[in-house]
């Protein structure tokens, strides 16, 4: 959310800064803990996370302890930014007031987060930061893994050598966080110091940063080695298979040290098995979203049926009671039953994110995506576009090339987002006979594949039509170490994301359900206002083979896609007691034109699927596109996708009719 007026006060600003995958965000979560309200959620306007923290230890909290603003920034390889998310870090360092209502341009203090398992590269970045004389504390993460691999760094030696406080922190157990707090409180200056961040580093300068890093590592290791040898001798070490590695003297210098691939790397990066495992992972991902959610969805449906009958028994059949049961519960319930499915989608994405697979996936598809004018780095935005286009558009900021980024943003709205899931479930439920429910799963897979195929076509065509400069940024991506997901974080973040989805969509859905119930029942249920609105739409709807009632629901879907299902349930006056989904399917089977021919046929349902696949009906997405690219782009994208959706849906209906499928 936006900054509250209080945060405009002169609270000191502390910045978390470091390379990608260095554990900044876990540290941020530990530092903020339950003491603060984090303001980062998908779809928010912030480009970084920010929290206010009261300093001092929880058990003897001093009311005079300062409150700081802690900012978590995107990972950077160097202080010279190459993509928009890296630019945010630079702004946070020297143009803070452009990011929010902060008093000063510079932060008071930076916490530089480094990974102990890859000291060379991370110390080279630290060197850049120290050279700018940015006041900083160094937090070293993954020290436990480094020690397990017998590559531990002596942190007090490091501190002596670089003349900065160094704190070892553990992302899993939060060890070291207290010490870090103490350092922050000690070092926090009254006013931030002025410093200048260079705009360019030459080849020799970068080489020097690394020579500095390598020499620091060598000094630490050479001094440490004698102690290590002593320790080794005192240990009875039956499980130390390789004594050479323990001996610090034989530890290769960082520049010569290779990474020993994990067995998962041998599989997921293999030229053939990598692709096979990629395909299996993706299929499993979508299978999980569809099938694992079914029991939870049945339960939600049951809850709403009970709620509706309870309300009816309590309120009777007055106008007001019908407003509640038919408008609110039927309309809201039609969409809320999908909450478990959406939560599972976010959860599955979180597991892929946290394990380190997504970077491997990006590597797998880079070649294919580059043929379409995209980049391997488009993979994560596009995959998360299958959950929601809004965080996906934010994720696209990590793509360095303007051309690749714009084309990715162009096709993100074509990914089958979670708002479409209720629509797919309803329409597939109609197409597939109840005793062959497994066919719906195949149908859903086809919809996902068709969305991807269509999006690829649009990206390719967009690259030809839009005049975008050729990109030469290539594709370089660090492949993080595999790790067991931290379940607590994965679960909390998927609950947060689902909750923010509900906040965003929930109210709209309820209000629209109510509004449509009213216009379906006023002035009287026989000749409602909705009838005249629907009538006006009818000429437009005839190519798609639909009647005015579906037209009304389609119109409502421009507020939020899933509202289509709610409004349809309201329009057909489905009673919530019989279960919204089954009741609605029954009502759809019985719906006819005045002449007696059915409204919902195979052809018209297929037409609706095509329409929903392509049309850009989400106002928040349009707003985000305006901000991320331009007004012109957002307008063009919206108009084009709606017109294409309409034309292709009509062609689908008419084409199917020509070949004899009604």
């Amino acid at each position: 959310m936006t900054d509250t007026p209080q945060s405009k006060s002169h609270n000191p600003v502390v910045l978390l800064i470091g390379p990608p995958n260095s554990g900044k965000t876990s540290l941020y979560n530990h530092l903020t803990g339950s003491k603060s309200k984090s303001v980062n959620y998908p779809g928010s306007t912030v480009q970084y996370s920010q929290a206010q923290i009261k300093m001092g230890l929880p058990h003897h909290k001093n009311p005079d302890s300062p409150v700081i603003n802690l900012i978590d920034t995107p990972g950077i390889v160097s202080l010279i930014p190459r993509s928009q998310d890296e630019e945010v870090v630079l702004s946070a360092l020297s143009k803070l007031n452009t990011l929010g209502s902060y008093t000063y341009n510079h932060p008071h203090l930076a916490i530089v987060v480094l990974d102990a398992t890859q000291p060379g590269r991370h110390l080279a970045l630290l060197k850049q930061i120290i050279d700018c004389s940015i006041p900083c504390i160094v937090a070293v993460t993954m020290t436990d893994i480094a020690e397990k691999n017998k590559q531990g760094l002596d942190l007090s030696k490091l501190s002596d050598l670089i003349c900065k406080p160094v704190v070892g922190v553990n992302g899993r157990t939060a060890a070291g966080v207290k010490e870090l707090f103490a350092w922050i409180e000690t070092l926090l200056p009254e006013k931030p110091k002025d410093f200048v961040v260079p705009t360019h580093f030459s080849q020799p300068e970068i080489t020097n940063h690394f020579s500095w890093a390598d020499s620091i590592i060598n000094q630490i290791r050479n001094q440490a080695s004698h102690q290590d040898i002593k320790k080794t001798h005192s240990l009875s070490s039956p499980n130390h298979k390789d004594p050479q590695v323990i001996n610090g003297k034989n530890e290769p210098p960082d520049q010569l040290k290779l990474y020993t691939p994990h067995f998962l790397d041998k599989l997921t990066l293999h030229p053939v098995w990598g692709l096979v495992s990629f395909f299996i992972t993706m299929s499993f991902f979508f299978w999980l979203v569809y099938w694992a959610a079914t029991p939870a969805m049945d339960f939600m449906e049951y809850v709403f049926v009970q709620l509706a009958s309870f309300c009816t028994s309590l309120l009777g059949a007055s106008f007001f009671a019908r407003l509640i049961t038919e408008g609110l519960i039927t309309g809201g319930g039609a969409v809320l039953v999908f909450v478990p499915q959406i939560a599972i989608l976010f959860l599955a994405l979180g597991v892929l994110e946290d394990s380190g697979y997504l970077a491997r996936g990006a590597m797998m598809v880079d070649r294919l995506l580059s043929l379409l004018g995209l980049n391997g780095k488009s993979f994560v935005p596009l995959l998360s576009g299958n959950a929601c286009a809004i965080p996906a558009a934010m994720a696209a900021r990590t793509i360095p090339g303007l051309r690749e980024r714009t084309l990715t943003l162009l096709i993100i709205p074509l990914m089958s987002c979670s708002a479409r899931l209720p629509v797919w479930a309803l329409l597939l439920g109609f197409l597939v006979p109840t005793h062959k429910a497994w066919l719906a799963g195949i149908g859903l897979a086809c919809i996902y594949l068709a969305s991807i195929a269509f999006a690829s076509l649009v990206a390719w065509a967009g690259g030809k039509i839009l005049r975008l400069p050729q990109s030469n940024s290539g594709f370089q991506l660090e492949l993080p170490q595999w790790r067991r997901p931290i379940w607590k974080i994965v679960f909390t973040s998927s609950i947060d994301r689902t909750w923010s989805y509900l906040q965003r969509a929930g109210l709209t859905i309820l209000i629209i359900s109510l509004v449509f119930w009213l216009i379906m029942n006023l002035p009287s249920p026989q000749s409602p206002i909705a009838f005249s609105i629907g009538r006006a739409l009818e000429p437009l709807l005839s190519p798609m083979g639909l009647d005015w009632k579906v037209g009304v629901a389609l119109l409502a879907a421009f507020a939020a896609r899933e509202v289509f299902v709610s409004v349809l349930a309201v329009v057909y006056a489905v009673s919530a007691q019989e279960g919204t989904t089954t009741g609605l399917l029954e009502a759809m089977r019985q719906a006819t034109f005045p002449g007696g021919q059915p409204v919902f046929t195979t052809a018209t349902t297929m037409g609706l699927i095509v329409f929903f696949m392509i049309a850009l009906q989400c106002t928040t997405t349009i707003a985000v596109m305006r901000r991320e690219v331009s007004n012109k782009f957002a307008l063009g994208q919206t108009v084009c996708f709606i017109i294409m959706a309409y034309i292709l849906a009509s062609l689908m209906v008419q084409g199917l009719r020509i070949i004899g499928i009604e």
């Binding site: 390889v77 160097s78 010279i80 190459r82 398992t117 890859q118 000291p119 060379g120 590269r121 080279a124 590559q151 580093f201 080849q203 970068i206 080489t207 690394f210 960082d254 520049q255 010569l256 040290k257 290779l258 990474y259 020993t260 691939p261 790397d265 990066l269 293999h270 030229p271 053939v272 990598g274 692709l275 970077a359 990006a362 590597m363 797998m364 880079d366 070649r367 580059s370 391997g376 030469n472 940024s473 290539g474 594709f475 370089q476 991506l477 660090e478 492949l479 993080p480 170490q481």
Partner: protein, 84 residues
């Protein structure tokens, strides 16, 4: 010992081979980014994987792994290390 071996672009390295970085060609944004990622002359690396159909390379260096597009790796000149 290594110097007797020829220099070649990283893309031509066989899968699994280890090599030493000799030079990063050019002074473009790309070559600077490669340096910033740790592709400093003198550094050792190993080609872990090369994907089919001209796909990306997975390279191990400085204790971690990096994926690179083949065209990006064209600018990295390496000298293969003999197996010891």
């Amino acid at each position: 010992m290594n110097h007797t071996l020829p220099t070649l672009p990283l893309v031509q390295l066989p899968r699994g081979a280890k090599a030493q970085i000799i030079e990063i060609k050019g002074n473009t944004h790309l070559s600077l980014r490669l340096l910033e990622m740790g592709f400093i002359p003198g550094t050792h690396l190993q080609l872990i994987s090369r994907l089919l159909w001209g796909g990306s390379l997975a390279i191990s260096l400085r204790g971690s792994m990096v994926a690179l597009r083949q065209t990006d790796a064209q600018n990295i000149l390496v000298s293969p290390l003999e197996k010891s």
